[in-house]
Amino acid sequence: MSAIAIQTQGLGKRYRRGALASGLLRDTLARAIRSPWSLLRHSPAPTFWALKDVSLEVSPGEVLGLIGRNGSGKTTLLKVLSRITRPTEGWAEIHGRVGSLLEVGTGFHPELTGRENAYLSGAILGMSKREITRKFDEIVGFAELEQFIDTPVKHYSSGMYVRLAFAVAAHLEPEILLVDEVLAVGDIRFQKKCLGKMGDVARAGRTVILVSHQLNQIRRLCDRTVWVDSGSIRQTGPTAEVVSAYEEAMTAGGAENIRPVDGAAQFLSWKLAGENRAADHILPTEGETCVSFLLRVNQRLHSVHHGIGLYDQDRHLLWGNALDGVTLDLGLHEFRYTIPTLPLRPGVYSWRVALYDAGVRIDDWECVPQMHVVTIPVTHYRDESAGFLNIPSKLDIVPANSAK
């Protein structure tokens, strides 16, 4: 076995954005007719580098963590390494069979049965038919779906769907495994099982690159961690070192979140309080939720405006509220919100809290770390049909008298 499993040198990926990528042939043709030469010239289309000058070496058997904010380029790096997209510059060399796991349930089709989907998804992920047949019982056992394996997947609950999808993926046995955030699915018990499986994979001597927002997972599984920031490597080293540096930078606000330190007041930290919490920033169920924000007041504030917002990963504002006429004395204050039910789908969310005095900002904080919700999803099994909220529902179909 060679001494290096993955090596990259000066890897970069540039994306185009803006008008040229309108995606309509009509527009391109119209442009060609208006100015025929513009298509031939190198038009200065607005571009950005999602990845820039990434040089990296991974040894065989190493479990490498990739951390960084949303949009920092972690996923792009995995996509380049798994050949989903080609780099714009630089190169990478991979020694060994690669399997990538960027999504749970890749290739699943609702009309097909669990058995059929296991074969289909396995084949798409790179398993041979023989390999799937050999591991089939193990996959079904892992997913705990023995009775339902010949039922069309469209009749599965989303929990069952995720279990089967992960079970297939978990039995992929490449020499090099690239994993993106897929452990953030399913209920907390199944997540633990998946984490255990990932641990087995790591101990079996396979090379793994793992992207995760859940720093605890990174701490548990990874020997070495790379912190990616704005498309470049910011820090590489032993996991404990890099993760704490990252956490520190995130709590400090990070480069994009610079706030005056000596203002009249400043939010310092946030956490989940009360009964319903798995850890300080992990929400396990959709029941009553207590969120507490710590504020330090440096000057007495009289009748200011306080606002709060909850965002999802795509920056949709899910909930917001505000209160006028807040008066605060010097010292530390805890803003404690009690929310009777917070029906969020599993995923990563951010809080934002702010204080304004007559329209002038005192503090406006995009809270870090982000909040992880790990509830059991009770929504449609396909993301695009599931919506934002994780609300349990019950359907009764009863005969109704039609209006005469």
């Binding site: 076995m1 060679s2 994306y15 990528a21 995606g23 309509l24 042939l25 009509r26 391109t28 996509k79 380049v80 390494l81 798994s82 050949r83 989903i84 997209t85 080609r86 780099p87 714009t88 510059e89 630089g90 190169w91 990478a92 060399e93 991979i94 020694h95 060994g96 069979r97 690669v98 990538s100 960027l102 999504e103 890749t106 290739g107 089709h109 009309e111 097909l112 059929e116 074969y119 289909l120 084949a123 798409i124 992920l125 790179g126 041979s128 038919k129 046995e173 490449p174 020499e175 001597g205 396979r206």
Partner: protein
């Protein structure tokens, strides 16, 4: 999976264990092409699974399932026979018009359905394309091949129908696979362009129905290509479906002359369009996952 070691008697006992797998090098796309057809062969099992998925889903989703594949060409044939055969009295090379038109409807139905499927295939599989790598060429190829299941059912009906009209096919029947191959390659030759374009420009799918309608009128589906003067026949053959349909009629009924000149022209055109399609598709492959 690390256990794929080389055989010591071949590699030499003193040699250290070499890398178990070939090294994969990832680089920016080159200016022209790297046709990785070998990769396609290595992924033939996936190709099989994708075809199998398409067929399975198609028959699961429609309530009447397989019978639809039989009813559709039969109804088209009946209506065409009534209007074009009985009322317009189009010449049909001495064959009953129903047999004449049925022999064209079956390959044409395959062609139009397969071309529409191939055009849509990259967009329909966009989730998979953006989440896992496999040779992208597999998708259009699988869409072109999965239509062959419908085709074989239609073909069986066509054979029965021809026999029922007491037309005994001759050895020319053995040439039908050749014409079918030409049809599949035509689907790919045009479909590779359209599927890549459709992934980049979403309005291409609105063009396809128009293209197919236009193409059908330019193909000898409802009329005989003998209406085209002999000296222009090769120009007509630049439409590869003309060669395919003429070939089907001739192969199935054994009447008329082999469509040699149009077949030659069709063959050349199809070869060129498949080659061009492969280049274009490969060129676009890199940006498809980014822009689909």
């Amino acid at each position: 999976m690390v256990s794929v070691t080389s055989n010591p008697s071949v590699a030499g006992a003193l040699e250290p264990r070499g890398p178990s797998q070939a090294t994969l090098r990832i680089e920016p796309p080159r200016r022209w092409l790297e046709l990785r057809l070998g990769e396609l062969w290595l992924s033939r099992e996936l190709l099989y699974f994708l075809v199998w998925r398409d067929v399975k889903i198609r028959y699961k989703q429609t309530a009447i399932g397989i019978s639809w594949v039989i009813i559709q060409p039969l109804l088209t044939m009946l209506v065409a026979t009534l209007f074009f055969g009985k009322l317009a009295k189009l010449p049909s090379q001495g064959l009953p018009y129903s047999v004449f038109v049925f022999a064209a409807i079956v390959p044409w139905t395959y062609f139009s359905a397969a071309l529409a499927n191939v055009t849509a295939v990259m967009v329909e599989n966009q989730r998979v394309i953006t989440k896992v790598y496999f040779p992208r060429l597999i998708l259009p190829v699988s869409a072109a091949l999965s239509g062959l299941v419908d085709f074989s059912i239609g073909f069986a009906v066509m054979l029965v129908f021809t026999f029922a009209h007491h037309i005994r096919p001759s050895w020319t029947l053995l040439l039908l696979p050749l014409f079918l191959l030409l049809a599949v390659l035509t689907v790919l030759g045009i479909g590779l362009w359209l599927s890549a374009l459709n992934a980049l420009y979403r309005d291409v799918k609105y063009l396809t129905p128009f293209l197919l309608q236009f193409w059908m009128l330019a193909s000898p589906v409802y009329y005989s290509s003998s209406l085209v003067p002999e000296r222009y026949r090769w120009v007509y053959g630049l439409n590869p479906m003309a060669g395919v349909i003429d070939g089907f009629r001739w192969g199935l009924t054994g009447t008329g002359h082999p469509p040699t000149s149009s077949l030659l022209a069709s063959g050349v055109i199809v070869f060129l369009s498949v080659l061009g399609g492969l280049f274009f598709f490969n060129r676009m492959e890199g940006s498809i996952a980014d822009r689909v």
